[in-house]
Protein backbone atom coordinates (compact mmCIF):
# COMPACT_ATOMS: atom_id res chain seq x y z
CA UNK A 1 0.00 0.00 0.00
CA UNK A 2 1.37 3.40 -0.95
CA UNK A 3 1.26 6.08 1.70
CA UNK A 4 -0.74 9.20 0.90
CA UNK A 5 1.06 12.52 0.59
CA UNK A 6 0.33 14.99 3.40
CA UNK A 7 0.38 18.77 3.02
CA UNK A 8 0.03 21.76 5.35
CA UNK A 9 -2.90 24.01 4.45
CA UNK A 10 -3.45 26.19 7.53
CA UNK A 11 -1.36 27.86 10.23
CA UNK A 12 -2.20 29.40 13.60
CA UNK A 13 -0.13 30.83 16.44
CA UNK A 14 -0.41 32.71 19.69
CA UNK A 15 3.08 33.34 21.04
CA UNK A 16 5.14 35.64 23.27
CA UNK A 17 6.39 37.55 20.19
CA UNK A 18 3.08 37.81 18.33
CA UNK A 19 -0.50 36.70 18.87
CA UNK A 20 -1.29 35.77 15.25
CA UNK A 21 0.73 34.05 12.52
CA UNK A 22 1.64 37.33 10.71
CA UNK A 23 2.73 39.09 13.92
CA UNK A 24 4.60 35.98 15.11
CA UNK A 25 6.52 35.82 11.84
CA UNK A 26 7.28 39.55 11.99
CA UNK A 27 8.62 39.08 15.51
CA UNK A 28 10.82 36.17 14.42
CA UNK A 29 12.19 37.98 11.37
CA UNK A 30 13.00 41.04 13.41
CA UNK A 31 14.64 39.05 16.20
CA UNK A 32 12.22 40.17 18.89
CA UNK A 33 12.71 38.87 22.42
CA UNK A 34 9.51 37.85 24.20
CA UNK A 35 11.04 37.87 27.68
CA UNK A 36 9.87 40.26 30.39
CA UNK A 37 9.13 40.28 34.14
CA UNK A 38 6.40 37.80 35.12
CA UNK A 39 2.96 39.42 35.40
CA UNK A 40 0.82 36.30 35.92
CA UNK A 41 1.67 36.01 39.62
CA UNK A 42 3.88 37.59 42.25
CA UNK A 43 7.28 36.08 41.49
CA UNK A 44 9.27 38.29 43.84
CA UNK A 45 10.47 35.37 45.95
CA UNK A 46 11.28 33.09 43.00
CA UNK A 47 14.78 32.48 41.65
CA UNK A 48 13.51 33.31 38.16
CA UNK A 49 11.26 36.36 37.97
CA UNK A 50 10.84 36.65 34.20
CA UNK A 51 9.32 34.59 31.42
CA UNK A 52 8.03 34.84 27.85
CA UNK A 53 4.32 35.54 28.38
CA UNK A 54 1.76 36.09 25.65
CA UNK A 55 1.48 39.89 25.76
CA UNK A 56 -1.68 41.80 26.75
CA UNK A 57 -3.69 38.59 26.88
CA UNK A 58 -7.30 38.70 27.98
CA UNK A 59 -9.64 35.76 27.44
CA UNK A 60 -12.48 38.28 26.99
CA UNK A 61 -10.99 39.23 23.61
CA UNK A 62 -11.61 35.69 22.38
CA UNK A 63 -14.33 34.02 24.45
CA UNK A 64 -17.59 34.90 26.07
CA UNK A 65 -17.12 34.81 29.82
CA UNK A 66 -18.95 31.55 30.47
CA UNK A 67 -17.02 29.77 27.71
CA UNK A 68 -13.63 31.14 28.80
CA UNK A 69 -14.16 30.27 32.46
CA UNK A 70 -14.48 26.58 31.61
CA UNK A 71 -11.11 26.38 29.86
CA UNK A 72 -7.67 26.45 31.40
CA UNK A 73 -5.32 28.93 29.74
CA UNK A 74 -3.55 26.17 27.79
CA UNK A 75 -6.91 25.18 26.24
CA UNK A 76 -7.77 28.81 25.50
CA UNK A 77 -4.47 29.08 23.62
CA UNK A 78 -5.26 25.81 21.80
CA UNK A 79 -8.67 27.04 20.66
CA UNK A 80 -7.33 30.46 19.60
CA UNK A 81 -4.45 29.08 17.51
CA UNK A 82 -6.54 26.30 15.99
CA UNK A 83 -9.31 28.77 15.09
CA UNK A 84 -6.76 30.82 13.15
CA UNK A 85 -5.42 27.73 11.37
CA UNK A 86 -8.89 26.39 10.56
CA UNK A 87 -9.96 29.75 9.12
CA UNK A 88 -6.68 30.06 7.23
CA UNK A 89 -7.25 26.62 5.69
CA UNK A 90 -10.83 27.48 4.73
CA UNK A 91 -11.97 24.42 6.64
CA UNK A 92 -15.26 25.73 7.95
CA UNK A 93 -17.61 24.40 5.31
CA UNK A 94 -17.99 21.90 2.50
CA UNK A 95 -16.01 19.12 4.16
CA UNK A 96 -16.91 15.79 5.70
CA UNK A 97 -16.28 16.48 9.37
CA UNK A 98 -16.30 12.77 10.20
CA UNK A 99 -12.94 12.65 8.41
CA UNK A 100 -11.38 15.58 10.31
CA UNK A 101 -9.41 14.76 13.46
CA UNK A 102 -7.71 16.77 16.17
CA UNK A 103 -4.39 15.51 17.51
CA UNK A 104 -2.93 18.05 19.91
CA UNK A 105 0.12 18.15 22.18
CA UNK A 106 0.51 19.38 25.72
CA UNK A 107 3.28 18.46 28.11
CA UNK A 108 1.46 19.34 31.31
CA UNK A 109 -2.17 20.33 30.74
CA UNK A 110 -4.05 22.64 33.09
CA UNK A 111 -1.38 23.38 35.66
CA UNK A 112 -2.97 26.65 36.79
CA UNK A 113 -6.31 24.91 37.31
CA UNK A 114 -4.70 22.12 39.32
CA UNK A 115 -2.80 24.63 41.41
CA UNK A 116 -5.83 26.82 42.14
CA UNK A 117 -8.01 23.91 43.19
CA UNK A 118 -5.27 22.51 45.41
CA UNK A 119 -4.75 25.93 47.02
CA UNK A 120 -8.48 26.21 47.68
CA UNK A 121 -8.62 22.81 49.31
CA UNK A 122 -5.55 23.56 51.43
CA UNK A 123 -7.09 26.81 52.66
CA UNK A 124 -10.25 25.04 53.88
CA UNK A 125 -10.98 22.77 56.83
CA UNK A 126 -10.55 19.54 54.92
CA UNK A 127 -14.05 19.51 53.45
CA UNK A 128 -13.69 18.81 49.73
CA UNK A 129 -15.19 21.61 47.66
CA UNK A 130 -13.71 20.85 44.28
CA UNK A 131 -15.27 22.65 41.35
CA UNK A 132 -17.07 20.30 38.92
CA UNK A 133 -15.03 21.85 36.10
CA UNK A 134 -11.73 21.09 37.86
CA UNK A 135 -11.00 17.76 36.15
CA UNK A 136 -12.37 18.62 32.67
CA UNK A 137 -10.37 21.87 32.73
CA UNK A 138 -7.17 20.29 33.95
CA UNK A 139 -6.83 17.17 31.82
CA UNK A 140 -4.47 17.68 28.89
CA UNK A 141 -6.96 16.33 26.34
CA UNK A 142 -9.49 19.07 27.14
CA UNK A 143 -7.56 20.99 24.43
CA UNK A 144 -8.31 18.56 21.60
CA UNK A 145 -11.77 17.93 23.05
CA UNK A 146 -12.69 21.62 22.98
CA UNK A 147 -11.34 22.10 19.45
CA UNK A 148 -13.49 19.24 18.17
CA UNK A 149 -16.61 20.34 20.06
CA UNK A 150 -16.32 23.88 18.74
CA UNK A 151 -15.93 22.75 15.14
CA UNK A 152 -17.83 19.47 15.00
CA UNK A 153 -14.78 17.46 13.93
CA UNK A 154 -15.63 13.82 14.58
CA UNK A 155 -12.43 12.11 13.41
CA UNK A 156 -9.58 10.74 15.57
CA UNK A 157 -9.10 12.88 18.67
CA UNK A 158 -6.45 12.71 21.37
CA UNK A 159 -3.50 14.46 23.00
CA UNK A 160 0.12 13.37 23.00
CA UNK A 161 2.19 13.98 26.11
CA UNK A 162 5.97 13.71 25.91
CA UNK A 163 7.09 16.86 27.74
CA UNK A 164 8.78 19.27 25.32
CA UNK A 165 8.38 16.89 22.37
CA UNK A 166 4.58 16.69 22.85
CA UNK A 167 3.39 18.78 19.93
CA UNK A 168 5.96 17.37 17.50
CA UNK A 169 4.67 13.94 18.48
CA UNK A 170 1.16 15.19 17.80
CA UNK A 171 2.22 16.37 14.32
CA UNK A 172 3.90 13.05 13.55
CA UNK A 173 0.86 11.12 14.78
CA UNK A 174 -1.43 13.32 12.68
CA UNK A 175 0.83 12.79 9.66
CA UNK A 176 0.68 9.04 10.18
CA UNK A 177 -3.10 8.90 10.54
CA UNK A 178 -3.56 10.84 7.31
CA UNK A 179 -0.99 8.96 5.27
CA UNK A 180 -2.50 5.67 6.46
CA UNK A 181 -5.93 6.86 5.33
CA UNK A 182 -7.53 6.98 8.78
CA UNK A 183 -8.41 10.67 8.44
CA UNK A 184 -8.35 13.19 5.59
CA UNK A 185 -7.61 16.29 7.64
CA UNK A 186 -6.15 16.76 11.13
CA UNK A 187 -5.86 19.91 13.21
CA UNK A 188 -2.59 19.47 15.05
CA UNK A 189 0.07 21.34 17.03
CA UNK A 190 0.22 22.03 20.73
CA UNK A 191 -0.10 24.46 23.59
CA UNK A 192 1.18 25.11 27.08
CA UNK A 193 0.51 27.60 29.86
CA UNK A 194 2.82 26.77 32.76
CA UNK A 195 3.86 30.25 33.90
CA UNK A 196 2.41 29.67 37.35
CA UNK A 197 3.92 29.37 40.82
CA UNK A 198 4.08 25.58 40.46
CA UNK A 199 5.59 25.75 36.97
CA UNK A 200 8.28 28.30 37.71
CA UNK A 201 9.02 26.89 41.15
CA UNK A 202 9.21 23.36 39.80
CA UNK A 203 11.56 24.16 36.92
CA UNK A 204 13.69 26.35 39.21
CA UNK A 205 14.08 23.38 41.54
CA UNK A 206 15.38 21.36 38.59
CA UNK A 207 17.93 24.13 37.92
CA UNK A 208 16.75 24.08 34.34
CA UNK A 209 15.78 27.74 33.94
CA UNK A 210 17.81 30.87 33.37
CA UNK A 211 18.14 33.08 36.45
CA UNK A 212 19.41 36.12 34.53
CA UNK A 213 16.91 38.44 36.22
CA UNK A 214 19.02 41.54 35.61
CA UNK A 215 18.87 41.05 31.84
CA UNK A 216 15.72 39.09 31.10
CA UNK A 217 15.47 40.28 27.51
CA UNK A 218 18.68 38.47 26.52
CA UNK A 219 18.41 35.53 28.93
CA UNK A 220 17.43 32.95 26.30
CA UNK A 221 20.75 32.64 24.49
CA UNK A 222 21.16 29.23 22.88
CA UNK A 223 24.75 28.36 21.86
CA UNK A 224 26.21 31.31 23.74
CA UNK A 225 29.08 30.50 26.07
CA UNK A 226 27.21 32.10 29.00
CA UNK A 227 23.81 30.43 28.50
CA UNK A 228 22.37 29.50 31.88
CA UNK A 229 19.10 27.69 31.22
CA UNK A 230 15.84 28.01 29.34
CA UNK A 231 13.30 30.79 29.60
CA UNK A 232 9.75 29.59 30.17
CA UNK A 233 7.29 30.53 27.43
CA UNK A 234 3.59 29.97 26.80
CA UNK A 235 1.18 29.90 23.87
CA UNK A 236 0.18 27.62 21.04
CA UNK A 237 1.03 26.72 17.47
CA UNK A 238 -1.47 25.02 15.17
CA UNK A 239 -1.33 23.36 11.76
CA UNK A 240 -4.08 22.08 9.54
CA UNK A 241 -2.63 19.16 7.64
CA UNK A 242 -4.42 17.05 5.08
CA UNK A 243 -4.12 14.44 2.40
CA UNK A 244 -2.77 16.06 -0.77
CA UNK A 245 -5.64 14.81 -2.94
CA UNK A 246 -8.14 16.18 -0.41
CA UNK A 247 -6.47 19.61 -0.42
CA UNK A 248 -6.26 19.55 -4.20
CA UNK A 249 -9.91 18.60 -4.61
CA UNK A 250 -11.09 21.53 -2.51
CA UNK A 251 -8.61 23.96 -4.04
CA UNK A 252 -6.80 24.69 -0.76
CA UNK A 253 -3.60 26.70 -0.72
CA UNK A 254 -0.61 24.60 0.26
CA UNK A 255 2.18 25.92 2.49
CA UNK A 256 4.46 22.89 2.44
CA UNK A 257 4.52 19.11 2.47
CA UNK A 258 5.31 16.97 5.50
CA UNK A 259 7.68 14.33 4.21
CA UNK A 260 8.89 12.59 7.34
CA UNK A 261 8.76 12.13 11.07
CA UNK A 262 11.31 10.47 13.32
CA UNK A 263 11.04 9.34 16.93
CA UNK A 264 13.58 7.99 19.38
CA UNK A 265 14.39 7.82 23.06
CA UNK A 266 17.61 8.54 24.94
CA UNK A 267 17.00 5.72 27.46
CA UNK A 268 19.47 7.58 29.65
CA UNK A 269 18.08 9.90 32.35
CA UNK A 270 14.68 11.39 33.21
CA UNK A 271 15.82 15.02 32.80
CA UNK A 272 19.46 15.16 31.67
CA UNK A 273 20.23 14.81 27.96
CA UNK A 274 22.57 11.99 27.00
CA UNK A 275 25.88 13.87 26.56
CA UNK A 276 26.88 11.54 23.72
CA UNK A 277 23.79 12.70 21.78
CA UNK A 278 23.12 9.15 20.56
CA UNK A 279 19.33 9.39 20.92
CA UNK A 280 19.38 12.68 19.01
CA UNK A 281 21.52 11.18 16.24
CA UNK A 282 19.02 8.36 15.99
CA UNK A 283 15.96 10.62 15.81
CA UNK A 284 17.37 12.70 12.94
CA UNK A 285 18.46 9.56 11.08
CA UNK A 286 14.99 8.09 11.57
CA UNK A 287 13.37 11.26 10.25
CA UNK A 288 15.62 11.40 7.18
CA UNK A 289 14.98 7.74 6.47
CA UNK A 290 11.23 8.18 6.81
CA UNK A 291 11.42 11.20 4.49
CA UNK A 292 13.50 9.21 2.01
CA UNK A 293 16.02 12.02 1.58
CA UNK A 294 19.77 12.38 1.95
CA UNK A 295 21.21 14.59 4.70
CA UNK A 296 22.56 16.91 1.98
CA UNK A 297 19.00 17.85 0.99
CA UNK A 298 18.28 19.59 4.30
CA UNK A 299 18.73 23.39 4.28
CA UNK A 300 17.54 24.47 7.70
CA UNK A 301 17.26 22.91 11.15
CA UNK A 302 15.04 24.63 13.69
CA UNK A 303 16.79 23.12 16.69
CA UNK A 304 15.51 22.21 20.10
CA UNK A 305 18.26 24.58 21.42
CA UNK A 306 16.72 25.56 24.76
CA UNK A 307 19.74 27.54 26.04
CA UNK A 308 20.73 24.96 28.64
CA UNK A 309 24.46 24.28 29.05
CA UNK A 310 24.23 20.52 28.41
CA UNK A 311 21.39 20.15 25.92
CA UNK A 312 22.57 22.65 23.32
CA UNK A 313 25.99 21.03 22.99
CA UNK A 314 24.62 17.49 22.71
CA UNK A 315 22.24 18.45 19.89
CA UNK A 316 24.97 20.24 17.90
CA UNK A 317 27.32 17.30 18.30
CA UNK A 318 24.56 15.03 17.00
CA UNK A 319 23.87 17.30 14.01
CA UNK A 320 27.55 17.12 13.06
CA UNK A 321 27.50 13.37 13.32
CA UNK A 322 24.39 12.98 11.16
CA UNK A 323 25.19 15.64 8.56
CA UNK A 324 29.00 15.42 8.42
CA UNK A 325 30.53 18.08 6.14
CA UNK A 326 27.04 19.20 5.08
CA UNK A 327 26.53 20.52 8.64
CA UNK A 328 28.55 23.57 7.56
CA UNK A 329 26.11 24.29 4.75
CA UNK A 330 23.07 24.18 7.02
CA UNK A 331 21.36 27.10 8.62
CA UNK A 332 20.81 26.23 12.26
CA UNK A 333 18.69 28.40 14.51
CA UNK A 334 16.84 28.23 17.80
CA UNK A 335 13.75 30.41 17.74
CA UNK A 336 13.47 29.72 21.49
CA UNK A 337 15.96 32.58 21.81
CA UNK A 338 12.94 34.79 20.99
CA UNK A 339 9.84 32.88 22.10
CA UNK A 340 11.26 31.18 25.16
CA UNK A 341 10.50 27.51 25.67
CA UNK A 342 6.84 26.59 25.22
CA UNK A 343 7.46 23.07 26.55
CA UNK A 344 4.69 20.91 25.05
CA UNK A 345 3.77 23.79 22.74
CA UNK A 346 7.29 24.21 21.34
CA UNK A 347 6.94 21.79 18.43
CA UNK A 348 3.76 23.57 17.31
CA UNK A 349 5.14 27.10 17.03
CA UNK A 350 8.47 25.82 15.71
CA UNK A 351 6.73 23.84 12.98
CA UNK A 352 4.98 27.08 12.01
CA UNK A 353 8.38 28.87 11.98
CA UNK A 354 9.96 26.12 9.86
CA UNK A 355 7.10 26.20 7.34
CA UNK A 356 7.22 29.99 7.08
CA UNK A 357 11.00 29.80 6.56
CA UNK A 358 10.28 27.59 3.54
CA UNK A 359 7.53 29.88 2.31
CA UNK A 360 9.42 33.16 2.65
CA UNK A 361 13.01 32.01 2.07
CA UNK A 362 14.07 33.58 5.35
CA UNK A 363 15.78 31.89 8.29
CA UNK A 364 14.69 33.32 11.65
CA UNK A 365 17.71 34.03 13.84
CA UNK A 366 19.17 32.78 17.11
CA UNK A 367 19.19 36.07 18.98
CA UNK A 368 21.07 37.18 22.10
CA UNK A 369 24.41 35.90 20.92
CA UNK A 370 27.28 37.64 22.68
CA UNK A 371 30.15 35.20 23.25
CA UNK A 372 31.11 32.18 21.15
CA UNK A 373 31.15 28.89 23.04
CA UNK A 374 34.59 27.33 22.44
CA UNK A 375 32.96 23.89 22.79
CA UNK A 376 30.87 24.47 19.65
CA UNK A 377 32.31 24.39 16.13
CA UNK A 378 32.50 28.04 15.04
CA UNK A 379 32.29 27.06 11.36
CA UNK A 380 28.62 26.14 11.82
CA UNK A 381 26.05 28.75 10.81
CA UNK A 382 23.91 29.35 13.90
CA UNK A 383 22.12 32.30 12.22
CA UNK A 384 23.22 34.48 15.11
CA UNK A 385 21.35 37.70 15.87
CA UNK A 386 19.93 38.48 12.42
CA UNK A 387 17.64 36.64 10.06
CA UNK A 388 19.27 35.34 6.86
CA UNK A 389 17.85 35.15 3.38
CA UNK A 390 18.05 31.62 2.03
CA UNK A 391 16.05 29.48 -0.31
CA UNK A 392 14.76 26.65 1.89
CA UNK A 393 13.64 23.47 0.20
CA UNK A 394 13.75 21.20 3.24
CA UNK A 395 13.48 22.19 6.91
CA UNK A 396 13.79 19.92 9.93
CA UNK A 397 12.21 20.77 13.30
CA UNK A 398 13.74 19.08 16.37
CA UNK A 399 12.19 18.82 19.82
CA UNK A 400 13.32 16.77 22.80
CA UNK A 401 11.53 16.23 26.09
CA UNK A 402 12.22 15.30 29.69
CA UNK A 403 11.87 11.55 29.79
CA UNK A 404 14.34 11.30 26.92
CA UNK A 405 11.76 11.68 24.13
CA UNK A 406 13.17 12.92 20.80
CA UNK A 407 11.12 13.90 17.77
CA UNK A 408 12.06 15.37 14.38
CA UNK A 409 9.65 16.50 11.70
CA UNK A 410 10.71 17.17 8.10
CA UNK A 411 8.91 19.70 5.89
CA UNK A 412 9.58 20.31 2.18
CA UNK A 413 8.59 23.01 -0.26
CA UNK A 414 5.55 21.69 -2.07
CA UNK A 415 5.85 20.54 -5.65
CA UNK A 416 2.85 18.84 -7.27
Amino acid sequence: MAFRRVVVTGLGAITPVGSTVPTYWDGLRQGLSGAAPITRFDASKFKTRFACEVKDYSPDNYFDRKEGRKMDLFTQFAVIASDEAIKDAGLLEGINKDRVGVIWGSGIGGLKTFQEESFNFAKGDGTPRYNPFFIPKMIADSSSGNISIKNGFRGPNFVTTSACASSSDAIVAAYNYIRLGMADVVVTGGSEAAITEAGVGGFNALKAMSERNDDALTASRPYDKDRDGFVLGEGAGALVIEAYEHAQARGAKIYAEIIGGGLSSDAYHITAPDPTGEGVVLVMQNALQDAGIKPEEVDYINTHGTSTPLGDGAEIKAIQKVFGEHAYNLNISSTKSMTGHLLGGAGGIEAVASILAIQHGIIPPTINHVTDDPELDARLNFTFNEAQVREVNVAMSNTFGFGGHNTSVVFRKFKA
Binding site: D64, R65, R129, N131, P132, P136
Partner: protein
Protein backbone atom coordinates in the same frame (compact mmCIF):
# COMPACT_ATOMS: atom_id res chain seq x y z
CA UNK B 1 -36.72 41.40 46.66
CA UNK B 2 -34.89 39.94 49.67
CA UNK B 3 -31.14 40.26 50.08
CA UNK B 4 -30.87 36.49 49.60
CA UNK B 5 -32.82 36.64 46.34
CA UNK B 6 -30.55 39.40 45.05
CA UNK B 7 -27.43 37.41 45.89
CA UNK B 8 -28.85 34.26 44.28
CA UNK B 9 -29.62 36.16 41.09
CA UNK B 10 -26.15 37.70 41.03
CA UNK B 11 -24.51 34.26 41.34
CA UNK B 12 -26.65 32.85 38.54
CA UNK B 13 -25.87 35.80 36.26
CA UNK B 14 -22.16 35.42 36.97
CA UNK B 15 -21.86 31.65 36.63
CA UNK B 16 -24.21 31.09 33.72
CA UNK B 17 -23.34 34.28 31.84
CA UNK B 18 -27.02 35.23 31.38
CA UNK B 19 -28.84 38.58 31.42
CA UNK B 20 -30.59 39.75 34.61
CA UNK B 21 -33.90 39.91 32.73
CA UNK B 22 -33.75 36.16 32.05
CA UNK B 23 -33.37 35.28 35.72
CA UNK B 24 -37.07 35.07 36.59
CA UNK B 25 -38.37 32.92 39.48
CA UNK B 26 -39.80 30.35 37.03
CA UNK B 27 -36.60 30.12 34.96
CA UNK B 28 -35.14 26.60 34.93
CA UNK B 29 -31.34 26.41 35.07
CA UNK B 30 -31.17 23.72 32.42
CA UNK B 31 -34.17 24.46 30.20
CA UNK B 32 -34.10 28.26 30.19
CA UNK B 33 -30.66 29.41 31.30
CA UNK B 34 -28.43 27.06 29.29
CA UNK B 35 -26.87 25.21 32.22
CA UNK B 36 -25.58 21.66 31.80
CA UNK B 37 -25.30 19.18 34.67
CA UNK B 38 -21.86 20.46 35.67
CA UNK B 39 -23.04 24.07 35.69
CA UNK B 40 -25.83 23.05 38.05
CA UNK B 41 -23.38 21.36 40.43
CA UNK B 42 -21.22 24.48 40.37
CA UNK B 43 -24.22 26.70 41.14
CA UNK B 44 -25.16 24.61 44.16
CA UNK B 45 -21.56 24.82 45.39
CA UNK B 46 -21.58 28.59 45.02
CA UNK B 47 -24.81 28.82 46.99
CA UNK B 48 -23.26 26.68 49.73
CA UNK B 49 -20.21 28.91 49.86
CA UNK B 50 -22.06 32.21 49.72
CA UNK B 51 -24.71 31.32 52.29
CA UNK B 52 -22.58 29.04 54.47
CA UNK B 53 -24.93 26.07 54.16
CA UNK B 54 -24.50 22.46 53.21
CA UNK B 55 -27.07 21.29 50.67
CA UNK B 56 -27.43 17.48 50.68
CA UNK B 57 -27.49 15.86 47.23
CA UNK B 58 -31.12 14.65 47.58
CA UNK B 59 -32.24 18.20 48.29
CA UNK B 60 -30.01 19.71 45.61
CA UNK B 61 -31.90 17.59 43.08
CA UNK B 62 -35.05 19.56 43.90
CA UNK B 63 -33.43 22.91 43.17
CA UNK B 64 -34.01 23.31 39.45
CA UNK B 65 -35.32 26.86 39.10
CA UNK B 66 -34.33 30.30 40.33
CA UNK B 67 -37.39 30.43 42.60
CA UNK B 68 -36.64 27.01 44.12
CA UNK B 69 -33.10 28.11 44.92
CA UNK B 70 -34.28 31.32 46.54
CA UNK B 71 -36.91 29.66 48.72
CA UNK B 72 -34.52 26.87 49.79
CA UNK B 73 -31.87 29.39 50.79
CA UNK B 74 -34.31 31.75 52.49
CA UNK B 75 -35.31 28.81 54.64
CA UNK B 76 -31.83 27.37 55.31
CA UNK B 77 -29.30 30.21 55.10
CA UNK B 78 -27.55 31.00 58.36
Amino acid sequence: MSEIAEKVKAIIIDKLGVEASEVTPEASFTNDLGADSLDTVELIMEFEKEFNVSIPDDQAENIGTVGQAISYLEEHAK
